[in-house]
Structures are given as structure tokens and as C-alpha cells.
Symmetry: C2
Subunit: 403 residues, 2 copies
């Protein structure tokens, strides 16, 4: 029954600032906005030396003091985190960027960064005594929560659009979750989930409707800094759907400065969306602080097909505060980038990740990225989860063929 | 142009013992048998402290002195290795095994353990100045060599049966390899490849026809020992097709003893095959030292559909020398085990990996595995690479549905 020495100090509303307890199940603030976790960073600064991490296991729990789980026996882990930060030398040369990296979230259980949110979210749900959780999802998050939920012996209900990637269904099935399909969008799934939550009191783990998923995602920021020798890169590009990842990465860099672990400014954050679903890009272009619902959204990059995110104002704040930007890419260019990156670097990234390469190229051409900037592409998942994105028709050989 | 301080000392024939040079491209011995790498372990023992590994990056290159690459600039890496060794508490309880682990090779670039062989094999090919490599494959190895080959700027030719898993084609395409399909078996692909090698002088990376792939695979053994605090488990179960993995793991444990890094005996090695393709199991049952070609082989666990392995005598030697055993499992039980493991532990393993759970269950029931044995299931890949193995039909919900 060991304590993990979390410095968690409470929850606060990301919009109105009101405090909330982290010791009971909490979802949105009374004002309707997401809750975030606050830590006693002052105490952590004086007690916790970043060099003490060096001997820890290479997973996200190496940052356990800055995660919300208070008792070690509640940690539900499949070995997630500390994914590779790979130099992209040839791609960097072709883009005229000296130091280009990919943070590769394909090398993680369930094959996408959703594993981080699920690991920390499910662990905290277990700590809070949750029995049943429910989630509307575009696929990968549901897959991750189904499998981590199985490891925690929780009942998991997943509602998914029928168009969501097929492989995610197999993962839900493997985890024994109750999976339901809807002929509609994730927003339609969300309405059904909301009614079920009201009726049964199930624990709602919709994006940003519980405060702990983002804590898992923020560890990407901690890892990038640690892997660069406790430095901030100049630019991080992030494929932006619900926005939890980019909000989390921003939170991580702010926390690390308060901890005295980095002295640099946070990186300039770039939200990358698809031309067919670009509410954040539009809001940024119009200098607004929140986005509008994007009608008839459509992109092959299914994970960023989110017409309006509950945390849009937090995403925009992260961009404005870091002197970042927002760009959108068309689907043909996304697929072409997936191939270009694979052939140059051997990385088979998901379409969401591929959009970042095209975005970096455009921003470098514009001069927004400088040659000597250290640039990180945050690839959120494995290309193998979307085997139908690429089209190819390999030739057949006869038994007596000569090459 | 830094040296990596590899202790490589040469190659030797695994059957007749004849020495060969590691400084030129080498394939089989004149006697037709695979070559293995020899290291100067005596010198390594006196110079290399296992504790010096602690600060190294969490990938297989942490064992670089015991790998064949001599110059650091030849290392071709996508961040592979140091995969999770996860405790399986509920599965262990249901099997009545106190300490059951899974070594999870789904958390690696390309989603299977083939990444290890490709990383080390491609790196050494680069070091040897290879321009074009060719490989017949059941899918996952080809995918891995295509992507690592791309990262090394090599020309890669892959020949695959049309029945091989579809996702592997997408990976070859992403890496820009020349992919060919054959209406036949991997042995048919191998014949076409052999003619092309004879004609063009391409570098043949068929299973065990080059000596370095096994060096990548052996790192699984090093990692298991390091992750257990430099101890041998009592039993390692391994899904056995071409056999490179089990031969590599055995080699690792022998080397670690010579290095003084472990004092235990090597683990008892268990080769697990499918009922529909079990040449090693049959040979073991008949106390033979090599296997016979298995006619009309057939199993959903495509990676272990290998009717006869070139290294069969080495696999059998590893089993006999460690007091191991060999068992085969039927396909229905493999699928049932995949589901059982997923629901109990949240791991979505490949069918090959699932066979190990069934094998451990049978061996525990027989008393061959004891309750207090430390047992490792070596799951060779991600279930998401085989999305069609599981059958499921999730219900549809109407927009106004109530759960």
C-alpha cells in the first residue's frame, strides 16, 4: 500500500478558476468547462531533483510525482511511454531544417498516444473506485481505454461511429469491452453516452470531461525535454483534434519551468489540422479565442476529425501564449507526406502524423520555421492502424519468374 | 567515425565449426549451414561491467559491445528494443503460476520482434557496403526490413505469398521497397529469391542466410535478464517458426554466463508451434536432432507457418540443452487464448503470442511448469497486425437509443 508521493494538490476550472476536489470523481466545472490538475510545484521544486529520474524505468510513470495517482497499487500499466525521439536527418535536409525530430508514439501499447491518457485516466478511475466507464470515441481512444480498462478489471462501454477505423473494434473486442456502433458522428455517440451517464451514473471519460487523461498526455512534453537533455525544442507540431495532447504538452512545459527543470521558454506550438476539418485554424486566423462548429467535416485523418473541441479555448491559448500558429493540410498532401517520410526515414506514421511533415515544410518555406530551429513532429500513432490509407498494387510473380 | 567497441571476433559455422570472416558479406558455410557470430567474451568480461548499462538509452543498442556493428555511424535505428516485461497477475493466478510475465514485442517499431533482426541486420549490411538486399518473407520480417532498409537508403526487394497479412504490404509500400507477390508458399518465394541472388549478386537476407539478424533477436534474452535484475527466468516460451528468436535467446543466455553477468542456468526453453505446422514438436517427440518438412502446413498464426526451418537443429539443440520441451496448440485454442489474455490483462497479443498462454496452461497442468517457476511468455507481435483473427459483431444503436 505504498504512496507514490504525488504532488497533486487539487483540481481547478480551466476557465473560471474555481477549485474542486481530486478525491471524488469530478467531471466538468459548474460553468461547463474542463477541470485541470494542480500540483504543489513549489514543494516539488525543493524536493525533487530531475537527475533522480535517471535510474527509473523507461515509461511515463518515471514522472509519477507529477501525475495524479496517489497509491502505487492503483497504477495500471502496459509499459507505456518514453517513446523514441528520432532524428530525421534526410527529411530535415530536404526541408532545410538542421535539427528535425519525430517523437514516435507508434511505439506504445495500442499503437497510439491514446495509451498515455488511458493509462493515467484508468489508474485514477481505479483509485476513485469507479466500476463502469463509458466513452464516445473516433476509435483509438476507445481501443486504449478498453484495453487498460480490462487490465484494471473495470466495465467499459464504448460507442463508436461505424466509419471509425476497423482495427479499433478488434481492440475493444480483445479487451472485452461492450462496444456499440452508431451510423453518425462522434457527437452523436456523445449524446447517447451522456444520456447513459445521467441514467446509470457511469463514469464519463469523454474528451476533457474527466481531468486525468490530459495528465497522461502531458508526459510527452516531459519526455521531449528530458530526451533533449532538459531543453525545450523551438517548435513542436501537433495534429489537433480534441486538443488534449497540445494542451497537455503546453502544461508540461509550464510545469517544468516552475520546477526549475528547464530554463528555456516553452516551444512555439503548432496546431495542425486537415483542410476538411480546421476549426482551430480558422479561429486562429480570425484571432478568436474559441472556435465554431465545422459543418460537414471530412478527412482521411480520422483522429483529427473533430468539428469542435470542448477545450478549443485552451488550445488557442496554448498557441497564442507560445507565439505558435495553426495550419491545415489537404488529404492528398497528407498521403503524399506519409509516403515521403516512410521512404526517407523508414517511419510508417499515421495520417495525422504525416500532416505535420507537410506543415513543417510550408512553415519553413514561409520562413516561420528557421533553419536553426530545433523542430519536433509529434507523430501520434502507427501507420499500421490505417492500412487502407496507402494505395498500392504489387505485381505478381510466376513460380519460374526471373527478377 | 567513432568505433562502437564491438567485441565481434569472427563468424563460425553452427554445424561444422569452420571460421569465417565478418569483414566481408557472408551467408552460409560451405557445408550449407548457418553462420553465427563469435565475440571475444573473455576480454569483454574483464572490461565491461553490466552496471555501466544503467545510464544508456532504453533500446537494444545498450548492448552494442555484444552486437556486430563496429562503427557508430552505421547504426540504423528506429528506437527499437527494451520492450516491456509485464507481470500477468490475473492470468498467472488462473494458470496457478506465481510469477508469470509477458515480454511484449508489440511495443516496438513495425509492431513485431522482426524489428530487432532488421535493425541489426540492416546496420551490418550498411557497414558491409551492401546496395541491394532481397528477402522472401511471410510478411512481418519483410515489412521490418523494408522500413529499416529505407532508413539506411538501401534498395530492398521483398517477395511474399499473397496470403501473407495485408498490413505487411502497406508497410513495404510505405518504405518504398519493391514488393512482389507469389501464389504459393514462402518456400516458393525463396526459390525465386535464390535465382535473383545468383543472377544479380544481391545480398540474401533469407532467415539464417545472413548471420546478423539473430544478433538482433538475441537482445530479447539480454533484456529479460536485465529486467529481472540479472536473473534467468526458469522457463521461456517462444512461438517457433524459423526459430531465429529461440536460437538467439539461447545464445544470449550462454553469452551472459560467459560474461559473468548472470550466474543462473539458462531458462528451460519451450518451442510452441501450431497443430497445423509442428515439425519441431514432432522431431522433439521422436528425440531427433533435426526436423522433417511438414506437408500441407496450415495455421492462422502465419508467422509460425514454417514447414521446415534451416536452423531446426539449432532450435532442437537449444531445447535439449536447457531441458526444455516443445508443444503444439490448435488454432481454435489460439484464438480463445488471445481473447482470454486480452480480457484478463489488457494485452492484445498476436496469435503466435496467444499460443504461449495455452502452452503454459497445458505445461502447468502436466506439472512440467511448477507453481514457483518464473515464467516468461515471449509475445512476438501486436494483435493489431492481424485484425481479422477475432470475430465480433458489435450491435448498432439508433440515435435515440437508451443503454
Amino acid at each position: 500500500m505504498a504512496e507514490t508521493k504525488s504532488y497533486i494538490a487539487g483540481l481547478y476550472c480551466s476557465r473560471c478558476g474555481k477549485g474542486h476536489s481530486h478525491e471524488i470523481a469530478a467531471h466538468l466545472c459548474d460553468c461547463g468547462s474542463p477541470l485541470l490538475v494542480r500540483y504543489d510545484l513549489e514543494r516539488a521544486r525543493s524536493e525533487l531533483d530531475r537527475n533522480s529520474l535517471r535510474d527509473r524505468s523507461p515509461d511515463l510513470w518515471r514522472y509519477r510525482e507529477l501525475l495524479p495517482v496517489e497509491r502505487e497499487e492503483n497504477i495500471v500499466s502496459l509499459g507505456e511511454g518514453f517513446t523514441p525521439l528520432l532524428p530525421l536527418r534526410r527529411a530535415g535536409a530536404s526541408l532545410d531544417i538542421d535539427l528535425l525530430y519525430i517523437k514516435d508514439e507508434s511505439v506504445i501499447p495500442t499503437g497510439t498516444f491514446k495509451a498515455r491518457g488511458a493509462a493515467v485516466g484508468v489508474s485514477k478511475a481505479k483509485e476513485l473506485g469507479v466500476g463502469t466507464l463509458i466513452m464516445p470515441t473516433n476509435g483509438n481512444a476507445g481501443a486504449a481505454w478498453a484495453l487498460y480498462g480490462a487490465r484494471a478489471s473495470l466495465d467499459v462501454k464504448i460507442i463508436m461511429p461505424e466509419d471509425a477505423p476497423y482495427i479499433a473494434r478488434a481492440e475493444c473486442s480483445a479487451g472485452g469491452a461492450d462496444l456499440y456502433l452508431v451510423k453518425g458522428l462522434i457527437s452523436d455517440c456523445g449524446k447517447i453516452a451522456a444520456r447513459a451517464v445521467a441514467k446509470h451514473g457511469w463514469y464519463d471519460v469523454s474528451t476533457l470531461k474527466e481531468p486525468y487523461r490530459i495528465e497522461g498526455k502531458k508526459t510527452m512534453g516531459y519526455e521531449i525535454a528530458e530526451q533533449l537533455g532538459w531543453r525545450s525544442p523551438d517548435v513542436v507540431l501537433y495534429p489537433t483534434g480534441g486538443g488534449v495532447g497540445i494542451i497537455g504538452v503546453y502544461k508540461a512545459f509550464l510545469e517544468m519551468r516552475e520546477l526549475g527543470w528547464i530554463s528555456d521558454k516553452p516551444p512555439r506550438l503548432v496546431a495542425v489540422q486537415a483542410d476538411g476539418c480546421a476549426p482551430i485554424v480558422k479561429a486562429f486566423a480570425e484571432k478568436k479565442t474559441q472556435s465554431e462548429f465545422w459543418e460537414n467535416s471530412r478527412t482521411i485523418a480520422f483522429g483529427i476529425n473533430v468539428p469542435r473541441a470542448l477545450g478549443d479555448f485552451l488550445v488557442l491559448d496554448a498557441i497564442y501564449s507560445t507565439n505558435g500558429t495553426a495550419v491545415s493540410i489537404d488529404d492528398d498532401t497528407i498521403v503524399a507526406s506519409q509516403v515521403e517520410l516512410g521512404r526517407q526515414e523508414g517511419t510508417f506514421v499515421c495520417p495525422e502524423g504525416a500532416s505535420l511533415y507537410a506543415a513543417a515544410k510550408r512553415l519553413r518555406e514561409d520562413g516561420w520555421i528557421r533553419r536553426d530551429d530545433t523542430v519536433v513532429l509529434l507523430n501520434t500513432g502507427a501507420g499500421i492502424k490505417y492500412p487502407d490509407t496507402l494505395s498500392f498494387a504489387p505485381p505478381y510473380l510466376e513460380m519460374d519468374a526471373e527478377l
